[in-house]
Symmetry: C2
Subunit: 359 residues, 2 copies
């Protein structure tokens, strides 16, 4: 197939260029006969319009750019898939950027996106710093949606799961099962120097919405309050979002000899690492410790014991994010969208002092 332009099509169809353009853009004011001729010429030449040229002319663009911390983990893979499928449905292209949870990379992504003059932007910031840069660098006029974070930029729609209530539900469930010393493993993309005190500080900060873990911590605290319990800083830990991190964090936690009867993890991978760590120390789950993950990915059924987890509608977030940006492009701001999270109970949690029948 050779490169064929609108001029070629016009010549072959025996009409002018604007007429071809009108057919291409499905304008109504074009004679049926000519329309037919044009369509034949298009089919014959296998012509496809040059989108670069089109968008130079119109100043818009059918590219939606999306910046995510990563493409792995159930949340972001699902989000990406929902976004990609929805873009396809609407004839949009999706340009992807992965910051690897790193501020400098996040900024590089922003720079690249900015230069691309995308029709729309989806952004999931890694930190308040990169968020600031985003705000200063990206035109207010570009239709922008924040994914999986809340309350960051005014007048910009945020599509996010209800982490507060999700974690509240999980914590309350553990409390109802009789657990009182529930460890909370907060997930962060960047963790240097973070500790429990710092966490509590962040909770009061204005940039709280950047960190989903802070909302979860909020839900955790809310649930504790209902049971007249205070937060024990010694039960608060920081992890990344992977297996190794869960494994190492639990190992360190056990070494600190702090008493606990349950643990809430940043996601399923962390939880899987935690399970392994407990197993190695011959601590029985759920007999001695209950473990809860987040995301409810496929590994929840593969882990032993199967993992209780808080489901996050990742694919749906991806869908809604694209629909929201389309809405923005069409000039209407649909506002924030908060999606529910659901606790899925499996075998890694049980009532305090529960005894499995011997294996």
């Amino acid at each position: 197939m050779e490169k064929v332009t609108i001029v070629d099509v016009a010549r072959i169809a025996g009409v002018s260029v604007p007429t071809v353009s009108r057919v291409l853009n499905k304008r109504q004011n074009v004679n049926k006969v000519l329309k037919k001729k044009v369509e034949e010429a298009i089919a014959e030449t296998n012509y496809a319009p040059n989108l670069n040229a089109r968008y130079t002319r119109t100043g818009t663009n059918d590219i939606i750019s999306i910046i995510l911390p990563t493409f792995e983990t159930n949340l972001f893979t699902g989000l990406l898939q929902g976004a990609a499928d929805t873009c396809m449905e609407h004839n949009l292209r999706l340009s992807v950027y992965q910051s690897n949870g790193n501020i400098e990379n996040d900024i590089r992504c922003i720079d690249m996106v900015r230069a691309s003059f995308s029709g729309g932007l989806i952004y999931c910031p890694v930190s308040p710093d990169s968020l600031e840069y985003f705000k200063s660098a990206v035109s207010q006029k570009t239709p922008t949606v924040i994914a999986s974070r809340r309350g960051l930029i005014e007048n910009v729609p945020h599509v996010y799961p209800d982490n507060i209530s999700g974690c509240y539900t999980a914590t309350k469930y553990l409390l109802q099962q009789g657990h009182r010393r529930i460890a909370f493993f907060a997930g962060f993309w960047e963790t240097p120097g973070y500790d429990a005190d710092y966490l509590m500080t962040l909770l009061e900060g204005k940039t709280r919405g950047v960190y989903s873990s802070l909302d979860r911590l909020q839900g955790y605290i809310d649930a504790l309050k209902e049971f007249n319990l205070d937060v024990q800083k010694s039960l608060l830990r920081i992890t990344a979002y992977n297996y190794e991190s869960g494994y190492e964090s639990m190992k360190a936690f056990l070494a600190s000899l702090i008493d606990f009867d349950a643990v809430i993890c940043a996601n399923d991978w962390v939880a899987a690492g935690v399970l392994q760590s407990l197993r190695e120390q011959n601590i029985l789950v759920p007999d001695q410790v209950s473990v809860v993950g987040f995301d409810d990915g496929a590994i929840t059924n593969i882990a032993r014991p199967t993992l209780t987890s808080v489901r996050q509608p990742s694919y749906q977030i991806g869908q809604r994010v694209i629909k929201t940006v389309i809405s923005l492009i069409n000039g209407v701001n649909p506002g924030d969208i908060k999606l529910d999270m659901t606790l899925i109970v499996r075998n890694s949690t049980a009532a305090k002092n529960y005894r499995t029948r011997s294996v």
Copy 2:
């Protein structure tokens, strides 16, 4: 930030438009003083060039489009990540399309990619049909790389893992462990009506390279031959690439009462489903049946028993694929790249008649 064009920058810097263009494109022939002025004007206005316009003019484009069956599974997520990171390093944008393993979607993806006049294309076809369409629809001149498949289009580089030798190694290992009735679960994106006979037919077909499972089957057969064994069609099964499929396939396989002592699965997820199915029937792994997966993803350590798996260098494939397409853009065809696969032995495989100490 408002939309500022090259004209604005030129005006502010007090130079002509081409001079700004020269600075932008790092041409050497520009006076230091003027260059400085231009750079200041750029900084002051926070100007970023309109890439759409640039690429209309040059006819090229810094967008690499990639069509994959899915973004999940270890292979494709890793591939995507390798591709995205490498694009970033080279200031390229990555536009992604997911066919969901479906021919019509695959064709839709091709149509979209075609219209985008990408600078480069990465394609992982789902079937011979969509591959044919690709060949007819996409300009031969567009730098194109085939990912994770081999021998499909002449003069187009293929970057792929050595499935033949990878599966040969896995099979040989099982044979050396004394297994003689090794089931082979071949993975396909589209499976309607596929059976063992059809599989053997495909093995002789010209489109073999479209299906990685056929190469693996080849490796499987090669290893059997070395032990003077013939393929038993009754040991050949078709699965998709997920947990459910592995679970159901093994359930059906067990119901057929065919004797077997090991099974090779299309990927780790399938293997995890298989493990579950065996567990439910109280069949001990690895005592009674050895199980091998493909991909060597994070779940290999989460599954019980931990999963022996054939590692696939997915991230590397993504890197190499982009480097290859860049090479193509620069006018040199580096040819095919075949990457090694490695067998990682864990606890789901053992010698025939092995006995675990009682759990």
